[in-house]
Subunit: 199 residues, 2 copies
């Protein structure tokens, strides 16, 4: 039946293309667009177009922005001696939500993954090295995800950066706060033991 109402099934198909949206959820979302007023639907459509046309990469940190240079890079109150290297814009969002880190970011746009055809040249590593030429940069915090590819990328970057005389650090591994030792995997527990600190 859904196939009969073509505009509805086409809309559901569009929702189905979004990450993590299955067939049933896509149909539910399509129905919920029908429940909107015409103005609301027009606003929604416009928001999609605006997001695509207005957002581009910041030429400095490669994060997403709708300005010439992003708000973080232009913020003079931030510590320009520390750059936190992340995989994507979502990681910047997560770190900014913590409201603790006051340095700058650099978004790689992925991790090295030869299996998926992602070589170091495809990441924004040369832009990072160019930024490190500025003598004000003292420390690079590598905050790629704790996956095999994230680790390999961290290793690759540290080998490039250390010889320039920059302090290279990595986010701490350990048991997540509020977690339970019983459910922590062996590798995490091992890293937590290894990284133990004075109380």
């Amino acid at each position: 039946m859904a196939d009969f109402i073509e505009p509805l099934s086409k809309l559901a198909e569009q929702f189905g293309r979004l990450s993590g949206i299955g067939r049933k959820t896509a149909m539910r979302l399509a129905f919920s667009v029908l429940d909107m007023s015409n103005d609301e639907a027009a606003d929604f459509a416009q928001a999609i177009l605006d997001a695509k046309t207005k957002i581009h990469l910041c030429p400095v940190c490669q994060n997403l922005t709708d300005k010439d240079i992003c708000d973080i890079c232009t913020d003079n109150s931030r510590d320009r001696s520390i750059i936190c290297v992340v995989e994507d814009a979502k990681a910047v969002l997560a770190l900014e939500n913590v409201r603790e880190f006051n340095g700058l970011y650099h978004v790689l746009g992925g991790v090295i993954s030869p299996m998926n055809g992602v070589t170091p040249e495809k990441l924004r590593i040369k832009e990072l090295l160019a930024r490190c030429e500025d003598s004000s940069v003292k420390e690079i915090i590598i905050a790629t995800n704790p996956t095999v590819e994230g680790e390999a990328t961290a290793m690759y970057l540290s080998r490039l950066l250390k010889p320039i005389g920059i302090i290279v650090t990595r986010l701490a591994y350990g048991i997540p706060v509020g977690g339970d030792l019983e459910y922590a995997d062996a590798v995490t527990l091992y890293r937590a033991l290894e990284g133990r600190r004075d109380v």
Copy 2:
């Protein structure tokens, strides 16, 4: 940080208005729009506008359609003596997926719910009665949801329709296929016992 990239947070806000989409999922969906090509995003925006402008209610059964009269109502191979009364278009979709029912539908557009200000006059009951004046209609299957309001609506409709000499039936209650007696609630079990049938 999300607040800094205004077009992104605006898009996430729009996704957040859809049913069942929370703040985090909305942000994930907004990011996945950014991963689309410009053409894909334009198609998505157009699909939203198309769904809103092209879809309206079928004047006969009150179901959603993009035609003058919906495909089910114009399908001559369907049995015009049975009308299945449902709450909304989603229920039509669910029943059509079964591919067993070959009659027509009537979409009420809700259920009687005085608490929410939905009186019988606000539902498309008079349209249903008008259809029943056609002597070819022999049976009305009331397929409102098995909720208090759905039950009340079924009762209300049966009182209106039976005096006209139409057979009024209700979907069977019972344990869902593949379910487990252990987890069935008492009311469902009671209804399943009450509605037991010869093997």
